[in-house]
């Protein structure tokens, strides 16, 4: 007679099957912990410390960095530039993106190819785009400068050396590179719209404008809202274009918050103040995004 085991072991492969979600979430959680959660809390830690070069040490400074931040006129100037940059670029990219998307929303031959071309600007690194526009806008060698001057739209003052035109000079590079991103998102939304309401509207004699205003825009509102949110956050942390094209100049005319935070952190080794600036940027983005999500009734 053989002994009957009191408990039966599951087959080997059963050990790798579990009803718990944790094993499946673990890789993602680990990544989040290492690359998001830990840096976030370390940033908070840094914001109440400051690196003292002479003593080669991080020293606790309490709220000094935050006090300094709110009394720092450079920071407020950089925030204003960032908000203007974000607002203007977003508006132009939104309008241009929608116009181009409407033009390309067709099944006629060749339109697929045109839509494919839109991805080209997106694969260029922003720093390279900035170098291209730096040359295009150069006062002596720049093609853009030459034609703007020939048309009487620009004086002898270089675009990027004039406080009143420098920011626009940088924004042109951003708009050129990222408008196609908006077009692609809008095109995806447009092509997913059901045709029936549009056919009914045409039968009822609605004009193109009425169709766009009464049907396309409302039906696309969530897509537009998502696109604006993604681009808005991206624009708010703009760094590459200003770093390459103007270094924040002339003076402080194109200093963005990201550039200022980077400079304080890495050029001047003020790790505490740099962390405070980046936390402040995060808070501003979160507040604006929260209000925006509330206003547009976006659901995640």
């Amino acid at each position: 007679m053989t002994d009957v085991p009191t408990s039966v072991k599951p087959p080997l492969q059963r050990r790798f099957i579990s009803d718990s979600a944790f094993p499946w979430l673990f890789p993602l959680l680990a990544l989040l912990l290492v690359f998001a959660v830990y840096p976030f809390f370390y940033n908070i830690y840094l914001s109440v410390h400051e690196f003292v070069p002479r003593r080669r040490a991080l020293e606790f400074v309490g709220s000094a960095n935050w006090v300094k931040l709110f009394s720092d006129s450079r920071m407020w100037g950089a925030l204003a530039v960032t908000l203007i940059y974000t607002g203007v670029c977003l508006l132009i990219q939104l309008v241009l993106g929608m116009l181009i998307a409407l033009l390309l929303d067709s099944d006629d031959p060749g339109f697929g190819f045109l839509r494919g071309l839109l991805t080209l600007t997106l694969v260029i690194p922003p720093a390279v785009t900035a170098m291209i526009f730096l040359l295009l806008e150069d006062a002596n060698f720049g093609v853009m400068t030459y034609y703007l001057q020939a048309l009487g739209l620009l004086g002898s003052n270089p675009i990027l050396a004039n406080p009143s035109t420098a920011l626009m000079g940088v924004m042109i590079a951003d708009i050129w590179q990222w408008t196609p991103f908006m077009v692609l998102i809008f095109l995806a939304g447009l092509r997913a719209l059901p045709p029936e309401p549009f056919e009914s509207a045409v039968i009822d004699g609605a004009s193109n404008w009425q169709v766009f205003r009464r049907l396309t825009l409302p039906m696309m509102s969530k897509v537009i809202a998502i696109a604006v949110l993604i681009r808005g956050i991206d624009l708010f942390r703009t760094f590459d274009y200003v770093y390459v094209m103007t270094s924040g100049g002339p003076g402080t005319a194109t200093y963005t918050l990201s550039l200022y935070a980077w400079q304080q952190t890495f050029s001047f080794i003020k790790w505490g103040y740099g962390a405070t600036l980046s936390l402040f940027s995060l808070i501003v983005i979160l507040v604006i995004a929260h209000i925006y999500v509330g206003l547009t009734k976006l659901k995640w």
Binding site: A139, N140, A161, P163, S247
Partner: protein, 505 residues
Amino acid sequence: MKFNHNNRKRYLASVTDRYVKGQMDRRTFLRSAGKLGLGAGVLGLSATMPFGGRGGFINSAQALEIQPDADMMAWLKDAAKPFAGQTIKLATESTPPSNAINSALKPFFEEATGIKVEIEVLPLEQVLQKLTLDVASGLGTYDLYYIDQSWMASFSGDVIDPREKYEANSDLAMPNYNMDDFLPALVDGISMYDGIMVGVPYDIPIFITMYRKDIYDELGLKVPTTMEEYMANAVAIQEAKAPEIYGTTGQMKSGHYSLECDWTCWLWAHGGSIFGPDGKFTGNDDAGMAAMEYWIKLKENMPEGVTTWTWDGQGQSVLQGIAGQALSWGEFFPWWDGPDDSKVSGLMEAAVPPAPAAPLRTTDQTGYGEIPGVGHQGGSSLAVSKYSKHQDAAWLFAQWATSFDTQVYITALGGGTGPTRESVYDDPRIKANAKPGIPGTTRHLDVVRETIASHMGSEPDLPEWAELSNDTIPVELGRFWAGEYDSPKAAMDSIAKKVDGILKG
């Protein structure tokens, strides 16, 4: 053997294939490539920045003839036996010496010593970040530090004084290294801080006068010996040639260190200084105002783009033939004189900077070790980290990299970069390249040597200088050139207030 275009390509493909497969050693490959008139460029040795910049150029002709000093290499082989297998690391700016060592010379050191050398070539500000992180952590990630002259105060406590190292261990003291051979002005200007020798002089970009001889001859201009003559020549060229060719050019991008470099040149040349003996900013005094007036007038004879250019754009403006003269980095000269991409090849000449318009201030009239001089220098030194775990291996490398023999090759391969050793200037191999219109000409080096000896200006040494010279001063100067200040006095007063505020903490 005579090559037509197709034969050249076939020959190159063949030798490259054999080199890659290990059927040909590096030296034979270089010699073979040299038959095509190709050189270091084939191996990716060229290390120019987008506009050429201060990165320097590899002289292909010299790349074929590297034969390190046999005695030195034999000594290295012997001295390095205990350290064979170690790896040492250096983070450095993209400068001619670093590029030449990293691209072409390093294998000779590694082969002789068995020490592996890892060199990270980075933009200057990233080098500063890496060094700061290294000294803050004390980990000794980098065994060697590339120390810009403006950082000496910050890192003087984190390095080993090379004089002490040389004397402390005779087994590791390179025979005939001869520390006295380093140009004395350089030792004071880029290596010494508060009695400590922070590192050995490594490279020396310095302002010299460079001008278009063809234009000078055409207009009957003399080489400027005074600031007034320099201005007069700029005005004369401007009146005769603009807008095709401007009187002079600049590196005046707002918020960039290059703008501060230009400013100090004019400031010192008018008897001014950045700091007074009490440590307060003095760029807003009478001499400072005279300098600004001069600079404003000079800018009227520059291309419109100067306020958007760093040294890259300035170099490009001369290269493209739109500027008649410049008082700027001597490292530009071989680039402009080279036959490949320059419109002014063979047309340039070099001269020492003009005499100052007012007596230069002495060091006891300035602050933080500032040494006024029209020839603004941006040199650096090579230092052994006191946190390094391979200090002896790093010290061997530092000696080899700054030895006479290596400096000769650096100067040749680096395309006429200024050596820091007196004897290198007189070496026949360097003299042989003193010809117009060839790659990596050295015909400006006598001027460089004289400028170092008699006209050199050095920035102050203080820990806050990195912030002041890279942000506070060039940002406010940028605002001035953008028209945001009513007068130069208002701009300089504003800078004084900000600088003194930062120094007070």
